[in-house]
């Protein structure tokens, strides 16, 4: 089986005039298999956010390759890049801030569909269906981000991400800012959607909480100072860490 997302030797160096060069990510390589949920865990400054921003092409790559569904997307821009987003979507850490405060939730959720050429009526119907699939009443399409709770907003964000039926869903600390009971609801929702017929969703799950990764992910990569220091199933990594940094991280968990 071919990986749905393949990252090879991904490197990012930030250089600014008059300042030292900072290597935020060094030679990152991994594969995401179809239907798999791969966790990326690391503390702040580990480079996981940089890696995610490069994969989604929101940040230019210094070195390396990104291959999505067999197509190399590393150097794409403009119209070609916009087409790529039909296969890859993201859910962000701050749900309310990931929606334009001046637009209704329905506008945001349907934006990818309208861009793909869907009519206004078809989009409206699909948005209603998506909201209900994600556990929200269809009327929420008319609400503004500040009118709903964080958990509800994240459900809308998931609806938005899945509208275009992507193959890869990237969750960037998607539950970290939510209350623990809401976090459970969102993880349950993601699990349900993942296993739904016809979805065949592969998830890249960025998180700082080992316990969450253990219950949600099939495999995990541990990042430290811009590099992948360990790889394996969550159980193996937690019980038998090979790397010193990983061991320190796991020992710190209260």
């Amino acid at each position: 089986m071919e990986p749905i997302l393949s990252v090879r030797n991904l490197t990012k160096v930030f250089s600014r005039r008059g300042r030292e060069r900072v290597t935020a990510a060094k030679h990152i390589s991994f594969d995401l298999m179809p239907g798999e949920c791969l966790g990326i865990i690391g503390e702040s400054g580990s480079g996981k956010t940089t890696v995610v921003n490069m994969i989604t092409r929101l940040l230019d790559v210094t070195e390396g390759q990104i291959i999505l569904d067999g197509e190399e997307i590393t150097g794409l821009s403009g119209k070609a890049l916009r087409k790529v987003y039909a296969g890859m979507q993201m859910v962000f850490q701050s749900p309310t801030e990931s929606f334009d405060p001046r637009r209704r939730l329905g506008d945001g959720i349907g934006e990818s569909l309208r861009n793909a050429g869907w009519s206004r009526e078809d989009t409206k119907a699909e948005v209603a269906r998506l909201l209900e699939e994600c556990g929200l009443p269809a009327e929420y399409a008319d609400r503004y981000p500040h009118q709903v709770s964080g958990g509800q907003c994240q459900r809308a964000a998931i609806a938005r991400a899945l509208a275009i039926r992507p193959k890869v869903l990237i969750c960037d600390e998607a539950t970290s800012s939510l209350d623990v009971t809401i976090q459970k609801e969102i993880l349950d929702l993601l699990n349900r959607l993942r296993r739904e017929k016809g979805m065949n969703l592969s998830i890249l799950f960025i998180c700082h909480d080992f316990a969450v990764v253990q219950q949600f992910c099939d495999r995990v990569l541990v990042m430290h100072h811009g590099e992948i220091v360990e790889e394996g199933t969550p159980d193996n990594v937690i019980r038998n860490p090979q790397n010193d940094d990983t061991r320190r991280l796991i020992d710190s968990i209260l």
Partner: protein, 260 residues
């Protein structure tokens, strides 16, 4: 152990809307009391009332908050200011942002100390370095000479705790002290607060949504939801054998690491 802080049937309202209802509890000397709850539970509001930090929109509408016999909401501002720092210390989620960025840590700690006590710079320096040493800082002098931005987030938080206990208060109120920190920094801060209690006998009220921190630190815990206390008791008892429905829901939602 003597009781030093007591909340009696306290109601608090923000802009007329009830935020805390009928909360009663007491804190004994040297005890660590955890207040657990999710957002909107009223836990932060509860301890801010003790420091007079509810103004201008919040108000204690019923009940008493007694510190060593005095009712805190009734105290004139001048007396409250005298208590803050000297007898009741407070640490917030981001201690770093409560530091002035253009002055050294030492200068700011000296200033806050001289608000309450007259002492020379030399006396302060030896007191502060001794305190930092006791709390496990390898080089106290260097910390005092640093600017806040030169310290990492976890370090800033730990210095914030040291600043709060500079005058040896009997109570330390901690409002989400570890929430903005990485896992490793969290552990260091928790260890530091336990050390503070062990060395100086300071009682601590710890408000947090992080059950792991509560489990690691608190002797007793109050679980809050929608402004009310739904369950209280010894930490191990409440966390492992919850009786209230909400506590059960909360505990089942907390992800637990399976180490073996």
């Amino acid at each position: 152990m003597a009781e030093i802080l007591r909340y009696e049937h306290v109601d608090i309202a923000y802009n007329g809307i009830s935020a805390v209802q009928d909360v009663s509890f007491s804190l004994r000397e040297g005890e660590i009391l955890g207040i657990a709850g999710e957002s909107g539970s009223g836990k932060s509001t509860l301890i801010r009332a003790a420091m007079g930090l509810l103004v201008p929109n919040g108000l204690v509408t019923r009940g008493d908050i007694r510190y060593k016999g005095k009712n805190l909401p009734d105290l004139p501002e001048k007396e409250l200011r005298r208590l803050n720092g000297r007898e009741i210390g407070m640490i917030f989620q981001s201690a770093g942002s409560s530091f002035c960025p253009i002055r050294t840590v030492g200068a700011q700690l000296y200033e806050s100390m001289t608000e309450h006590e007259k002492l020379s710079r030399e006396e302060f320096r030896s007191h502060a370095t001794a305190l930092l040493g006791k709390l496990g800082f390898p080089d106290g002098r260097r910390i005092l000479e640093s600017y806040p931005f030169e310290l990492s987030g976890g370090m800033q938080q730990r210095v914030g705790i040291a600043a709060a206990i500079l005058l040896n208060p009997s109570v330390l109120l901690a409002d989400e002290p570890t929430s903005a920190l990485d896992v490793s920094a969290q552990k260091q801060v928790v260890e530091e607060m336990l050390l503070v209690r062990k060395t100086f006998g300071t009682a601590i009220i710890l408000v947090t949504h992080n059950i792991g921190v509560i489990r690691a630190m608190a002797d007793r815990v109050l679980v809050m939801k929608d402004g009310r206390v739904v369950e209280s008791g010894e930490t191990r008892q409440v966390l492992e054998h919850p009786r209230a429905d909400y506590t059960r829901t909360l505990m089942s939602a907390v992800p637990r690491l399976r180490r073996a």
